[in-house]
Every structure is written in C-alpha cells, then in structure tokens.
C-alpha cells in the first residue's frame, strides 16, 4: 500500500516536472517534446491491445488520421472540446465495426483488415472531399499553442499509462493473461474472449484517435496523404516492440530513443529514411522479439543463475 502511494506521488511529481519543461525551451524544443509525447502515447495505446493479445494492429494511422481529419472538418463549426469528443466517438465506432467483424476470427484476419484500413479511409475521405465538398485539403486555424498541445498530450499519455496500470491489476488484465496462455481454457473458465478483445481494441483505438485530434492544430494545413501516412503506424509499432509491448513502461522506453533517432535520420538522410527504418525494424524483430526490457532482464539474470534455463523437464515424455 505504502509503495503504491509512493509510486503515485512520484508519478504525479514527474508529470508536474514534465509539464513545466516546455516553458524552458524555444519553439523547436516544444515541437520535439510534443512529437515525442505523441509517440509515447501512440505506442502505449497500441500496446494496451496488441501487447497482451498479440494481435498486430496496423491501423494506428487510420485512427490517428480520423482524429486529425475530424478536427480539420469541424474546426470552424464546433467548440474545441466538443470536436475532441466527436473525434473520439467516430474512432470508437470504427473500432467497434472492425473489431466485431474480425476479432472472433483468427488473428490473421484482423491484421489484414487493419493493414488496409488506413488506405481505405484515405481513399474514402479523398473521394468525399473531391466529389462532395470539391476541395482536397483543409486549413485549421485554432488558437492553440504548441505548449497547450503538449500539455494535452502529456495528460493523455498519463491517462493511457494509468489505464495500462489499472488493467494490470483488474479482472480484465487476468483475463488477458489467461487468453494469452490458452484461449480454450479461457473460454471454458467463462471468459468472453471476443468481448475482452473488443473492449481493449476500442479503448486503444479511441486513445489513438484522440492523439490525432489533439495534434491536428499543429499542421494548419491538412490533406489525406499527410494524415494517413503509413509511416505513423510503422513507427508506433516499432517503438512499442523495441521497448516491449507487454510491459507497462516498455512502449515509453522504446519511443524515446527511437523518436530522437528518427528525428535525426529524417534530418540527415531524408531520402534513405524509410530504408533505414525498415532494416532497423527487421533487426528488432530478429534480435529482440520480446523487447529491450525483456532482453535486459535476461542479461541481468544470466550471471545470477548457474542452471541453464532450457533444460527439458521430461514433460513431453509424460504427455
């Protein structure tokens, strides 16, 4: 109990410090912080669902783009908080449709569906803008400063990690662990597997939609090819995997170094950016399938243990 209180206090203190940081930086620093916090949130939200279920969602940018575009479309007609709510609601509805159609089936259907979702939404929005409104591309003039965006993202990041923490101690968290170990046992223990997955996917997708919506005012000019850029899905995925999608702080720890690296790469190798990213990503899948934290843990434990880990215990013989 005491430790929990201490952890919460530390968490709140760290948040306050982080909220104060941008007052010390120029515009560039704020932009950097803002982008970083955005990706921390995206990666953490992605891992909420994909970490425990191992369903690889490639739809991050579909939801991100939905959020951003909703703000672009509504920025002149509705007050800002209402726009955020509308964006979240749209993201939630899309997530429910996708989830209901695919989550009862084998994981590969979900992956395929999410893989094409961004392209679908992008083409639909483009079609709508060209045929119905007659303009492709919109301007966003909202009186929201970089610091304000940063603070919103910081709050959302805290909420996301908080949700992850709460799930870890709740029934749904146990349900996820059981599902991860053995779906057959899970179903026979009375767990409604499809509902657990759907709930988590919906929560994760709604947060991702909000990240897009909150960041939208940064751009001032928005068009489908900007906000539905597959690279965002890709970066989110690789950050979460590098840090370890199954751990509370994993995505955050993966996002910080990779975000800085990407910034540096895109400044110095703009043409070869995506090749380097792709190779880096393949390397991560190969070398650290469980993420950095698991890797560190393993290295940490190794000297302490004299018995090798993988000694067969004769279980196969019995079965």
């Amino acid at each position: 109990m005491f430790r929990t209180v201490l952890a919460v206090l530390f968490f709140v203190g760290a948040l306050a410090a982080l909220a104060w940081v941008p007052t010390q930086f120029g515009a560039y620093g704020v932009g950097l912080l803002l982008g970083l916090t955005g990706y921390v949130t995206l990666a953490s939200a992605w891992a909420l669902f994909s970490g425990p279920t191992r369903y690889v969602s490639l739809a991050t940018v579909a939801f991100f783009g939905i959020g951003a575009y909703t703000v672009a479309v509504l920025s002149e007609t509705l007050p800002y908080p209402v726009i955020l709510l509308v964006a979240a609601a749209i993201g939630l509805c899309v997530a429910l449709v996708v989830g209901l159609a695919t989550l009862r089936l084998a994981g590969v259907y979900f992956v395929i569906f999410t893989f094409g979702l961004a392209e679908l939404v992008r083409q639909l929005v483009t079609w709508y803008e060209v045929n119905v409104t007659g303009t492709l591309g919109r301007y966003i003039f909202l009186p929201i400063s970089g610091e304000q965006i940063y603070w919103q993202l910081l709050a959302l990041a805290a909420v996301t990690i908080g949700i992850g923490w709460a799930i870890g101690r709740s029934r749904i968290g146990l349900a996820l662990k059981v599902i991860g170990d053995d779906e057959v046992v899970a179903a026979h223990a009375g767990i409604n597997i499809a509902r657990v997955k759907l709930t988590l996917f919906a929560v994760s997708a709604t947060i991702i939609t909000l990240v897009g919506a909150i960041q939208a005012p940064r751009w001032t000019y928005v068009e489908p090819s900007i906000v539905f850029n597959q690279t965002i899905s890709f970066l989110t995925l690789i950050m979460a995997l590098l840090g370890g999608a199954n751990r509370l702080w994993g995505p955050l720890l993966g996002a910080i170094p990779l975000f800085l690296l990407f910034e540096w790469l895109s400044a110095n190798f703009p043409n070869h950016y995506s090749i380097i990213l792709g190779l880096l990503f393949i390397a991560i899948v190969f070398v650290m399938p469980q993420g950095v934290l698991a890797m560190v843990e393993k290295l940490w434990k190794r000297p302490a243990r004299s018995v090798p880990e993988n000694v067969p215990v004769g279980k196969e013989v019995v079965q």
Binding site: Y109, I112, F115, G116, E119, L124, N131, F281
Partner: protein, 290 residues
C-alpha cells in the same frame, strides 16, 4: 454496355487471380504472411518499365529476364529473412506474427529503394496500346495480352500442382506440414521453393500491371490488399478458389468503376472482404470451420 464491363472485368480479374495465386502459395505453403507482396509487384513493374524504356526490350521478352530474377529474389529473401524465423517458431510458435512484422519492415525497405531510384511520380509506358475488337467491345491489346499471360501462367501452375510429383509434394505440405516429413518430404525446401514461386507470380503480375496501367512506388499496399481479399474469398491456400475469386473481384471493380465511381473501387473491395468475413470466414470455396 454490360458486355464491356464483363470483358474488361474478366481481363482485369485475370491479373488479380494471378497475383492472388502467388500470395496463396506463400501463405498456404510457406506459412509466411507477406505484407511486402504488393511492393514486390510494383518493384517488378518498375523492372519491366526499365527494360522497356531504357534497354528497349518489350515486356513479353522481358519476362524471360524478370522471372528468374524474381525467383532468385524470393529464394534469397526466404533463406535470409524467413528461415531463421521459421526455425525460431518451432520453439515459440510465433511464425505468423513474426513473419507479419518482418515483412512489414521489408515493405518499407523495398518502398524506400523504389523511392530513391524512381521517385514518387506516376510511371507508365506505351506498349501495344491499340484497341482490339472483342465481341463488339473495344479493349486495349496490352490488357488482352496480360489476360492471356495470366491464363497461361496460372493454368500451367494449376496443372503442375495437380498432376506432377512436385505438385503432390507441395500440396502435402500445405495440408499437413507436420506429417509431410514422415513421408520423406523436405518441408523447408518445399516452403522455400513455394515462396520463390510466389515471388515469381508477383513479378509476372507486376509486369502485366505495368503494361496497362500507371503505377507509383507507394502503391503496393493496394495490391497486397486486393491479393489478400482474393485469397480469403477463395479460401486460404486454395488455388482454384483464388482463380475464381480473382475474376470475381475484377468484375466487381470494373462494375463499380463504370457505374458508381472509380474512386470507390477499394471501398468495394473492402465491402466484399467484410461480407465474406461475416458470412463465410473460411472463404467462398473453403470448408466451414468449427
């Protein structure tokens, strides 16, 4: 003009069927869900473009160069990238997720390479771009040629699988990868071969596409999606299903583009996908699960 729609739909569907066959080989036999499949298609579309516009070799002749290169590329990719994952999956059972992630990375690598060499502009070239009259419908000769090629290559593959010793081996791996070794089949070799063959089909699809439509380096996703939808409609690993579903998708797309709006073809593809998932997840021609 329904005959026009019917004929151009079937012609387009021929290409879809062919690329879907390649994907179904890779997933059904090699167990690799290859998200970079569409990028491979586009890569070889650029290859055909280079051969045609720089060296002056027509795409039909170009296939003689491209197909072996594609086979070698597929063979190499499987050996370098997939084999370690396959080996690892014996212990972890994560081949599906690992292959999805690895090929997602590969997607960005291939796309990046294409962007460096060809930029992000739409590319096309003029080859046999003359109208031919088929049953009262005028259709571009290059499209007809593409269709003929698809029929030829797809048909040859189908016959090879159904009637040769090699085909029996491949089908055995598809149906029972765990039991195949018991009858002396080298699963790993067969999987590698099937993956390379799938890449070859992707390449031939790319060459066909380059003959009759414009393409860009960032377009691969659309083709991967279409191939995937066809594969799922036909039933995972089912070649005949892929053939029929591919033709069907070509018809639907042409119909939507003609009567509704060309901008909504992908949406139509998705709608089909969604209804198949909800109605018959095992595919139109697959056996019901559970």
């Amino acid at each position: 003009m329904p005959t026009t729609v019917l004929i151009s739909g079937l012609v387009l569907g021929g290409t879809y069927a062919l690329i879907a066959m390649g994907l179904t080989l890779q997933y059904g036999i090699s167990r690799i869900m290859n998200l970079a499949y569409g990028e491979t298609i586009i890569l070889f579309a650029f290859g055909a473009f280079l051969l045609f516009s720089v060296v002056g070799i027509n795409p039909l002749l170009g296939l003689i160069f491209i197909l072996p290169v594609a086979f070698a590329l597929g063979y190499g990719i499987y050996g370098i990238m997939m084999q370690p994952l396959v080996r690892r999956s014996v212990k972890t059972g994560n081949l599906e997720v690992d292959s999805i992630l690895a090929t997602f990375g590969l997607l960005f690598v291939i796309q990046g390479v294409m962007l460096v060499f060809f930029g992000s502009n739409y590319t096309s070239y003029n080859y046999m771009n003359v109208g031919v009259n088929v049953l009262g419908t005028t259709i571009a000769a290059n499209r007809l040629l593409a269709f003929a090629l698809a029929v030829l290559i797809g048909g040859a593959l189908y016959l090879a699988l159904a009637h040769t010793r090699w085909g029996t081996r491949v089908r055995a791996v598809a149906v029972a990868p765990n039991s195949a070794p018991l009858v002396g089949i080298d699963v790993n070799k067969t999987a590698r071969f099937a993956f390379a063959l799938g890449t070859m089909l992707a390449a031939s699809g790319g060459v066909m596409i380059s003959m009759y439509q414009t393409f860009t380096a960032s377009m691969g996703v659309v083709f991967t999606m279409k191939a995937l939808v066809v594969v799922i409609m036909g039933g995972l690993g089912n070649l005949m299903g892929a053939l029929v579903a591919g033709l069907l998708l070509g018809l639907v797309e042409t119909f939507v583009a003609t009567y509704i709006d060309p901008g909504l073809t992908l949406a139509a593809t998705y709608l089909i996908f969604l209804s198949v998932l909800l109605w018959r997840p095992s595919g139109l021609f697959g056996k019901a699960a559970r």
